[in-house]
């Protein structure tokens, strides 16, 4: 596609439920990133993928968060047993390659998650 797409655009869930957020990167981009944007914390890096591999999961806020990427393309961020503090906008980005900080990351529109 022309840009990074994310679905759903908005998600309202009840505390304790699981949610899955999807990211479709720009075609041909091998690197994929997840960030979280919240009022209190600003923009936080969560995890990155090179291909299907996520070498460093230390940015994930808790063990309720997990992410996977299949076929070097689509990625899913899963939050189990959601809490109200998980409410935020989850942004996905992709870049042509990892290449350290050199590559420009292009962002999707985000998924706005509200946990009631």
């Amino acid at each position: 596609g022309a840009g990074v797409s994310q679905s759903p655009s908005n998600k309202v869930t009840e505390k304790g439920k699981d949610v899955e957020l999807r990211c479709d990167p720009i075609s041909g981009h091998t690197a994929l990133y997840w960030y979280r944007q919240s009022l209190g914390q600003g923009l936080e890096f969560l995890i990155y993928f090179q291909g299907n591999s996520a070498p460093d999961k230390s940015g994930l806020p808790s063990d309720r968060f997990s992410a996977e990427r299949t076929g070097g393309s689509v990625s899913t961020l899963t939050i189990q047993r959601t809490q109200q503090e998980d409410s935020a906008v989850y942004l996905c980005a992709s870049s042509f390659s990892l290449a350290g900080g050199l590559e420009t990351q292009y962002f999707g529109p985000g998924t706005r998650l509200l946990v009631l």
Binding site: V4, Q6, A31, Y33, Y35, G42, L43, F45, Y48, Q50, G59, L91, A93, L98, G100, G101, L102, T104, Q105, Y106, F107, G108, P109, G110, R112
Partner: protein, 116 residues
């Protein structure tokens, strides 16, 4: 660890006047520096980046930014502001190499309001 400071939460400027949005950074070694813009309920849109070379970087929509190594700054500028420039602006840094070179560290953002 790297960090970014955007000292102004909000900048107001009259349409047609020059604008500056300030950014300072801290990183080990050489930095890669980025500016992104976010319109309401939208993802981050890439404006420009500094990798190496000329300290003055030109980007999208008439924006430019000046890299100043001695002051560790990367201020965003535009000679003549438009009402449509009103948005939230984020400065970001990633290190040239080493730990964290795959992730962007963002400032808190500066809300730019251009007054007609």
């Amino acid at each position: 660890a790297q960090s970014v400071a955007q000292p102004e939460d909000q900048v107001n400027v009259a349409e047609g006047n020059p604008l500056t949005v300030k950014c300072t950074y801290s990183v080990s070694g050489n930095p890669y520096l980025f500016w992104y813009v976010q319109y309401p309920n939208r993802g981050l849109q890439f404006l420009l980046k500094y990798i190496t070379g000329d300290n003055l970087v030109k980007g999208s929509y008439g924006f430019e930014a000046e890299f100043n190594k001695s002051q560790t700054s990367f201020h965003l500028k535009k000679p003549s502001a438009l009402v449509s420039d009103s948005a939230l602006y984020f400065c970001a840094v990633s290190p040239y190499s080493g730990a964290g070179s795959y992730q962007l560290t963002f400032g808190k953002g500066t809300k730019l309001s251009v007054i007609p």
